[in-house]
């Protein structure tokens, strides 16, 4: 079987539609991950030990199990208790939740990397808690987090093909369906690979720029 350019041009619109949905899912899931991750990071720092422990255990569990199974869980189990989510929403929530456990770690490390002296200085100059966070801690903690968070954004983008397993018509699923229709696998599968590779090579350059701009976070 040989590479057929005519076939490539024929399936290109379908694949591009899939790519659009892939990007949309990535962005939505990234927003969920960023917000939920912050919530997890705050709960993790909670004064109530039961809450802090519980959050840590939950994060550990989510990080130790496959995203695919979590997606199945959300898509197939939740309807049994009356929560029926559309595939796209289930995918966004599943991916967002999975990566929230990773972004929470980034937030935690970012905050802990602000030297203790900064907290003490803020207290010495009689800043309120709010002023301390808004004017001292956040401006120092956030810039080093940006490249790391961007890294997870790229990781999420690469994981979106998993959503095809719960019937979201993203890039991989579109490729699979055209491949099954015409029984030609070489072009669609290779193109999916090329799309992802191209996007990730571009994003590596983008990441270097972010790292140069904001610096790397010390581990």
């Amino acid at each position: 079987m040989e590479w057929d350019w005519a076939f490539v041009w024929q399936i290109m619109p379908t694949l591009l539609a899939g790519l659009k949905l892939t990007l949309l899912v990535t962005l939505l899931a990234a927003v969920v991950a960023a917000v939920l991750g912050l919530a997890l990071a705050i709960l993790r720092r909670s004064g109530n030990r039961a809450v802090a422990r519980g959050t840590a255990a939950l994060s550990e569990f989510i990080r130790g199990t496959p995203l695919l199974v979590q997606l199945y869980f959300i898509f197939y189990v939740l309807p049994d208790i009356g929560i029926r989510l559309p595939a796209l929403l289930a995918g966004v929530i599943g991916m967002g939740l999975h990566y929230a456990t990773y972004t929470a770690e980034v937030y935690r490390a970012g905050i802990e990397n602000v030297p203790r002296g900064q907290w003490e200085a803020a207290r010495a100059t009689n800043l309120t808690m709010r002023q301390t966070w808004v004017h001292v801690i956040v401006p120092q903690a956030v810039p080093p987090m940006i490249p790391v968070l961007a890294n997870y954004l790229i990781a999420m983008f690469k994981e979106t093909p998993l959503l095809s397993a719960i019937t979201v018509l993203e890039l991989m699923n579109q490729a699979k369906s055209v491949a099954n229709t015409y029984y030609r696998y070489i072009e669609p599968m290779t193109l999916v690979g090329v799309f992802f590779l191209a996007m990730s090579l571009v994003s590596v350059v983008f990441l270097r720029v972010l790292e140069a701009r904001f610096g790397r976070m010390a581990k």
Partner: protein, 218 residues
């Protein structure tokens, strides 16, 4: 009410396949990681480029895409692999690429004066790597290798999509036969988590074993 014992044994059979994939995938990943990681710090530019190309390629696309490519496209090129071979190959090469960067980072983080000392005492390049650089770099790699191994374990779920009868696939079978969703998926989530715990324990044991006698040195 179905035959729960039978379904459980189905899932446990799947767990065995998952464990097998994880172990063999890790073995392949380890070999590939050292070859590519050492390739990245080679003195020959051609080898460095080759290693970089491999790493960027496999890190740039996801395990899912690679698996489908290996399984659906390679047969047209005359290479037909069993699902389990395709699974091990894709998992090992994918995680190997990530681990190769770990190897490279650890080797580069050994201080320069160690290299200079080796030159001063006239060690060959091989001796330098074998006796000086590598023993110091290995403890730095291990914790991240542990994370990579867990990523690989999580990646094995994807092979169910090329109809390999791993744990996730068997859970789907049980779901299809019983109509119950909570029990099979909750069971495999717990089993995956236990496997991940076992992996991180094992890595920690290897870590204490390898860093024995290094207290105070680093």
């Amino acid at each position: 009410m179905g035959d729960w014992g039978g379904y459980l044994s189905l899932i446990l059979q799947g767990a065995l396949v998952t464990a097998k994939l994880t172990v063999m995938g890790c073995a392949l990943a380890l070999v590939v990681a050292f070859i590519a990681g050492l390739g990245r710090v080679s003195r020959f530019a051609a080898i460095r480029w080759l290693a970089t190309a491999y790493i960027e390629f496999f890190r740039g696309t996801s395990i899912f895409v690679q698996l489908f490519w290996v399984y659906f496209v390679l047969p047209f090129a005359g290479v037909t692999l069993e699902p389990i071979q395709a699974g091990i190959m894709a998992l090992g090469l994918n995680v190997g690429a990530y681990a190769a960067e770990v190897v490279r980072g650890a080797i580069l983080s050994v201080p320069r004066d160690q290299y200079e000392a080796c030159i001063a005492v006239n060690l060959t390049r091989f001796q330098r790597m074998r006796h000086v650089i590598f023993p110091q770099a290995l403890p730095l790699m291990l914790p991240t290798f542990g994370n990579n191994a867990i990523e690989l374990l999580k990646g094995t779920a994807v092979v169910s999509l090329i109809s390999l009868h791993d744990m996730t696939f068997q859970a789907q079978v049980v779901r299809a036969q019983t109509g119950s969703t909570l029990i099979p998926f909750a069971t495999i989530l717990v089993l995956y988590f236990l496997m991940a715990l076992a992996l991180s324990r094992a890595i920690r044991m290897i870590e204490t074993r390898i860093t024995r006698g290094l207290d105070g040195v680093r």
